[in-house]
Amino acid sequence: MQSPNNNHHQQAQNSSHTSTTRSSDSGEPSAPNNKWASTLLKECAKAISDKDSTKIHHLLWMLNELASPYGDCDQKLASYFLQALFCKATESGQRCYKTLTSVAEKSNSFDSARKLILKFQEVSPWTTFGHVAANGAILEALDGEKNLHIIDISNTLCTQWPTLLESLATRTDETPHLKLTVVVTASTVKSVIKEIGQRMEKFARLMGVPFEFHVRSDYLGELTKEKLCVSEDEAIAINCIGALRRVAVEERSSVIELFRSLNPKVVTIVEEEADFSSNRDDFVKCFEECLRFYTLYFEMLEESFMPTSNERLMLERECSRSIVRVLACELEENIEGECAERREKGSQWSERMKAAFSPVGFSDDVVDDVKALLKRYRAGWGLMQGDGHEDQTGLYLTWKEEAVVWASAWK
């Protein structure tokens, strides 16, 4: 497949002078494998930002020729980002996103969702990292309490809780009562949460942990203390995994205030390390950051899963929806109760949290647990404490030395 690529690339260079200068400078024309996608994509983004329609068409056409969602990493990235760029150029982002989402919802089921996430957790610590860190912090903060109430706002379908339930059953002398209130927003989750709840209840029974499961389907920005049914005698933990980024940027402070008003013993926040927020008014910058992050993610997926994995394909498609949403949908749109996932980096979240909370470090035991966890996966994963700056809040999961997931605890 390489020579056709070469030909196209060379033809393009010969035909249009203005663009070739840049392409030949930055790219490696004779080595199409080498990050050609990144180059072309960035070029295209710039063209869109400049409203250079000839160039836009030209680059979209080239990308279309080279991209494929079933190829290698470059081809996949090209394919999904091309989709977003196209939507941006044609202002059809919302429609595209709705279509992609409804397609996904049709094939969604408890079985498929479960299979997907369990498989992902088996091959990659991307989500389990946050779980282990958060559970450790929660157990330590709630140690000795009799009535626990965990408010779970996560995108990991309650896969965090079995190990916590098991810990509650075995590590404590007197097993406390646990009430789990799950707040769901994503439509794909709403349809399966009932079944998930049933499994949790059964498992808790098995573990011998007195347990209650509640669900709230509110948009996070509209939650209130009353809706969450917290009572005075409960020790509260708020657990947010990949949740804060789904809140509209301007509403994030009020959500944090809501958390404060619940008076929790601990708040655990786990987010992916990317910034689509501070650059949301600068298309090219946002695009580049998006590309950087998803390149890491796609490469991680490629190295973690088997080549023929259906699960990886599902995860990649999930990304494609996110990418379209962030890059091609208007900022203020609230599509079906969900906001674009404008991620922020750990340091940014820390700034927000510090308005109402103080950071809690992870104990040595928890850090050891995380290290032990990472050892159980393939090589390439690492742990970083703090981000090197004076604010040593949180732990970072690193993939090939790049920080990818941030976990923190607050009180």
Binding site: D111, R114, K115, L118, K119, Q121, E122, T128, V132, T159, W161, P162, T163, L165, E166, A169, T170, R171, T172, D173, E174, T175, I196, Q198, R199, M200, K202, F203, R205, L206, M207, G208, M306, T308, S309, N310, E311, D365, D368, D369, K371, A372, L373, K375, R376
Partner: protein, 476 residues
């Protein structure tokens, strides 16, 4: 010594006893009390310092110190003492028991003294000492170095097996899987329907016991047992129906001669029509089951059980192996007690020769078809639970496989013919294990031609790890 045995078990969460069905989660469990010493024994109270001091045993001849009395005795021999002096004085004959110096400890009281000095030392360290030793792999902590060493050897080598048959090497992923596994869901539904509280407790006990990952060991038994049972998709239903009928073919036979077999037949009577998989042993059979051609051998199907027929749900245990331990289960179980795979007769997990048992079924099948009663005694004998090593099981299994294999040629066995059609390794392995499984696998393969990846993924989880040529020897 008792104290040591108990203390060595990590978390003290599962203690093997001979009481069936008593493996509850640790905090809820009442163990046999350790430290119930001989009333005539001399109670020694040592201070923590003295207790932890090494070289307490001094040689009277040269003054050399030893940590253990046995070591001292060994040393003394080297001094070429006259024979009489080598003897212990009569004073020494009296048994010594030691109390724990920690005042708040239950073993501080003389009535709960522990009988062995090394034991009391370890106890003191474990319970009241600082846990200085930490496992790298799982970050578990230990106060006694030998405990830590022992743990490190086995850490990460344990395999956890879910009811559905999937094997895990990681405890955390096992736990998470278990919580979401269909096997769990169905089973608890069954438990809820069961009338007896005892049953429920037992289930929890069994499941918990299993959940905490009683080591399966790397024996062949694990290999045989693990399988592509995971019944996530409903395409299995059809396969199971057929399998059931296949089973009923031979279970319906009258030919079974001995009491035991009759009993088994009776017991294994139809479980429930709606149930595809059953993980319940027909133990504590409160209900003799109505005769019906539709039943399954519970142990053959790892797990999923539809919630249609609650009535028969007898007790618990996740996977039961019929035909084994016919004699061994206690009086609480009538007739044939079909112990679960995870029964508390513990060497069960290691030794429950699932291989042998499966072949037992094959044998029964053969017997039923041939109508031979003479073979009963011989294979019944071979069903006896062996606490032996896996090699014995391997031999047995290959022996049985031969018999089993011969069934394939019988055309009246619909399942047998299924076997012949299947040529994949996977199906072959399943056949070896249990034929309904094979049937199911076959169907599943057909159903998922596009989604071949699905089957592969699932199998990728555990199959390769357990496919050992020895298990397939002899009859492919």
């Amino acid at each position: 010594m008792t104290a040591e045995e108990e203390a060595i078990i990590p978390n003290g969460t599962f203690v093997q006893t001979s009481i069936p069905g008593s493996n509850l989660p640790a905090p809820k469990r009442k163990r046999n009390l350790p430290g119930t010493p001989d009333p005539e024994a001399e109670v020694i109270a040592l201070s923590p310092k003295t207790l932890m001091a090494t070289n307490r045993f001094l040689c009277e001849i040269c003054g050399k110190g030893f940590q253990r009395d046995q070591n001292l005795q060994l040393h003394r021999r080297g001094h070429n003492l006259p024979w009489k002096l080598k003897q212990r004085t009569s004073k020494e004959v009296r048994k010594r028991v030691y109390i724990c110096p920690e005042k708040t400890c239950v073993h501080h009281h003389p009535s709960r003294a522990l009988g062995d000095l090394t034991g009391i030392k370890k106890h003191f360290c474990r319970k009241h000492g600082e846990k200085k030793w930490k496992c790298e792999k799982c970050s578990k902590r230990y106060a006694v170095q030998s405990d830590w060493k022992a743990h490190s050897k086995t850490c990460g080598t344990r395999e956890y097996k879910c009811d559905c048959g999937t094997l895990f090497s990681r405890r955390d992923s096992f736990i998470t899987h278990r919580a979401f596994c269909d096997a769990l869901a169905e089973e608890t539904a069954r438990v809820n329907a069961a009338s007896s509280v005892h049953n429920m407790t037992t289930t929890s006990a069994m499941n918990y016991h299993h959940l905490l990952g009683t080591p399966i060991g790397s024996g062949i038994m694990a290999q045989h047992f693990s399988s592509s049972f995971k019944p996530i998709s409903t395409t299995n239903e059809a396969a199971m129906d057929e399998a059931r009928q296949g089973l009923s073919l031979w279970m319906g036979h009258e030919a079974i001669g001995t009491n035991n077999l009759q009993v088994i037949h009776h017991q294994l009577g139809p479980m429930n029509s709606g149930t595809v998989y059953s993980t319940e042993p027909l133990v504590s059979g409160s209900n003799p089951l109505p005769s019906d051609t539709n039943y399954q051998l519970p142990w053959m199907f790892g797990n999923k059980l539809s919630a249609n027929n609650p009535e028969e749900l007898l007790s618990t245990t996740s996977i039961s192996l019929p035909l084994s331990n016919v004699k061994e289960n206690g009086p609480t179980h009538q007739l044939v007690s079909i112990p679960s795979l995870f029964s508390s007769q513990q060497h069960s997990l290691q030794t429950v020769p699932s291989a042998a048992n499966m072949s037992a079924t094959a044998l029964l099948q053969k017997a039923a078809q041939i109508g031979a009663t003479s073979t009963d005694a011989s294979f019944l004998g071979s069903f006896k639970l062996k606490s032996s090593n896996s090699t014995t099981q391997a031999e047995d299994s290959s022996k049985y496989s031969g018999l089993y294999g011969s069934n394939n040629t019988q055309t009246n066995n619909s399942l047998g013919s299924e076997h012949l059609e299947n040529s994949s390794d996977i199906t072959t392995l399943n056949q070896l294990q249990m034929f309904p499984a094979a049937k199911r696998q076959h169907t599943r393969n057909e159903d998922s031609t596009g989604g071949g990846g699905q089957t592969r993924d699932f199998l990728g989880v555990g199959m390769q790890a357990i496919c050992h040529p020895s298990s397939i020897n002899g009859w492919i």
